[in-house]
């Protein structure tokens, strides 16, 4: 049996190492555990860190959801999903957050609250939040060890001085369990509070940088901020003070993407999490013609399956 048709693509030793690394990451919340990131049949930077975690943790009969920027059918998600389907026989895939056992994601955490029996794997391009203030990895390790994050706070101070607010839009430095500060992967600020006391285990894998770290279930995750300039999430209020709603499902509580309508040239807003949006549309009686019909979803599923 060649390596390529081995269950989960990776050999057992590689999977074992990654599982061991993940355990260590859970044991030391927020600490970046180095591991020997394997070559994958795709470029580093395309989610190989997350992929290796998923491949090592998935078992037969389990259900996987892969999302990219909240959507199940953008290129990265489709390719990773079909690769996993190809290499993990007996693993089901889904686009439903509720049905998934393992969710691999890039740039978003699902809108729907995750459960204790679910696992979220995030793909990470830059694991170390200190890289913006310290070039030497050796020094960064000391700073992490001593929990000295003053230079990141200076960065926030400079932001407030220049722009009257903290301008970090994604990869917001977040302190885990009162010690290590992590780069929570390029999720928007909107998703950062979901890490705090999350019932589901969150594992973060950086393939190129060869690091795995974790936010264990029910662990404190606190975005860095000042006492009097607190962390805040994206504001979706329009100029009239109304919370913008999704043009498909009318949801007013989700993270919205902004589009330009190609016909009218107007700005329109839509849920970034497509599964959430579909669920809201199905639940609400208001159905618009822009809606993806249930049939369409099935086609997407069939194409992926």
């Amino acid at each position: 049996m060649g390596a390529s048709n081995h269950f989960g693509f990776l050999d057992e030793y590689a999977k074992k190492e990654i599982r061991r690394t993940a355990l260590k990451a859970v044991a030391i919340p927020g600490y970046q555990v180095p591991y020997s990131s394997r070559e994958m049949p795709m470029g580093r930077g395309f989610g190989t860190g997350g992929l290796q975690l998923t491949l090592s943790l998935l078992g037969k009969g389990e259900t996987l959801k892969v999302i990219d920027q909240g959507s199940d059918d953008s290129v990265n998600a489709v390719n990773l999903r079909s690769f996993i389907e190809m290499t993990c026989s007996g693993v089901n895939t889904t686009i439903s957050t509720t049905e998934a056992d393992v969710i691999q994601s890039r740039h978003r955490i699902p809108e729907k609250d995750l459960r204790e029996d679910q696992l979220l794997v995030l793909q990470v391009p830059y694991p170390d939040p200190l890289i913006v203030v310290e070039a030497s990895e050796n020094k960064r390790k000391t700073l992490h060890g001593e929990a000295d994050y003053s230079r990141l706070l200076v960065k926030l101070y400079e932001d407030i001085v220049k722009f009257d607010e903290i301008t970090i839009s994604h990869r917001y430095p977040t302190r885990i369990n009162d010690h290590y500060v992590i780069d929570p992967s390029p999720i928007p600020r909107w998703d950062v509070p979901k890490l705090d006391q999350s019932p589901a285990l969150v594992l973060l894998g950086a393939g190129r940088e060869k690091k795995i770290y974790a936010v264990p279930p029910y662990t404190k995750a606190e975005p860095l901020a000042f006492e009097d300039v607190p962390f805040r999430v994206e504001d979706f209020t329009d100029k009239d003070g109304q919370r913008r709603r999704c043009q498909r499902c009318d949801c007013t509580t989700s993270f919205l993407d902004e589009f330009i309508d190609s016909k009218s040239g107007e700005k329109i807003y839509q849920c970034s999490d497509t599964d959430w949006c579909n669920e809201q549309s199905t639940n609400s009686s208001v159905m618009s013609d822009k809606e993806i019909t249930a049939d369409n979803i099935e086609i997407v599923e069939m194409a992926n399956g």
Binding site: T142, D148, S150, Y157, V161, F226, E227, D228
Partner: protein, 276 residues
């Protein structure tokens, strides 16, 4: 008087060192390089006490080991032997026995350092206010408006225009940079301040203003200071007591007036004679 710092037999050797290092170097041999093993004896057997509100001068030519001694105390360098005790708020700290985190806490909160070159003391990528904020944030001040207020007060105190506090230090003149550096060093009201050639390279009127500032701070806050310089004028103006160093050894120590008026060692005599 309260003792702030006690240094005993501080030595720093660059190189592997040998048994004859200390016997074959020093002012009597006109060298600090060991002829046996080639090690550099940067400082040897430096001992002194420093009391609250006192300014101690360390004087000597380039390469005499004066900066090395101070860098060891500020943990920029590790000493080869010797010990130093820092007395602070009823606590005693054996400086060279502390672990890295404890040393960092002292450096961030209880010590201040002003270097000759502002590039060493300041981060030139962030604003002057940000530089002061950095030190405050290191000492666990987490409130933005508090930091802002404190930075404004410090810059006012050191006579930097507060309208320019959000500018990068590279836009400032040398004297201004030095003032920002002093403000940064003072951010946490440290009881002990190290000044390494602070006025070297500045023009005379700016030098005088900076020295005035240092004296005022000493009198206002009773800060103990160690001033390293090769400038006799600075020593005369600031220091109450002085150590004179040559080839890594202290060759003379005592009250500044006494040393300048009645130097005992041949080197000090030459130094004083050439300058006055």
């Amino acid at each position: 008087m309260d003792k702030v710092l006690e240094v005993n037999n501080l030595s720093k050797i660059y190189g592997k060192g040998c048994f004859s290092c200390f016997e074959l170097t020093g002012p009597e041999y006109d060298t600090n390089i060991c002829p046996q093993c080639g090690s550099v004896i940067a400082a040897h057997d430096v001992s002194f006490d420093l009391y609250k509100g006192e300014i101690l001068g360390i004087m000597g030519e380039s390469g005499s080991g004066k900066s090395t001694a101070v860098k060891c105390l500020y943990f920029d360098q590790e000493p080869s032997s010797g010990n130093a005790t820092f007395f602070d708020e009823g606590e005693k700290y054996d400086l060279f026995e502390l672990n890295a985190a404890q040393q960092r806490r002292l450096v961030n909160q209880r010590f201040g350092m002003v270097y000759q070159n502002p590039h060493l003391g300041l981060n030139f990528d962030i604003s002057s206010g940000g530089n002061i904020a950095e030190r405050l944030l290191m000492s666990e001040v987490k409130n933005y408006s508090d930091i802002r207020l404190r930075a404004t007060n410090l810059l006012t105190r050191t006579e930097v225009l507060t309208e320019r506090m959000d500018e990068l230090p590279k836009n400032f003149s040398g004297g201004m940079q030095q003032r920002v550096q002093i403000a940064k060093a003072l951010a946490t009201n440290p009881p002990l301040l190290f000044l390494d050639e602070v006025t070297t390279g500045l023009d005379l009127s700016v030098q005088a203003a900076i020295l005035d500032l240092i004296l005022e701070i000493q009198q206002e806050q009773q800060t103990s200071m160690i001033v390293v310089t090769h400038d006799l004028g600075v020593i005369r103006l600031l220091a109450g007591r002085t150590l004179v160093m040559k080839y890594g050894r202290v060759i003379e120590s005592g009250l500044t007036d006494q040393i300048l008026e009645d130097p005992q060692h041949a080197y000090t005599q030459r130094l004083v004679a050439s300058a006055l």
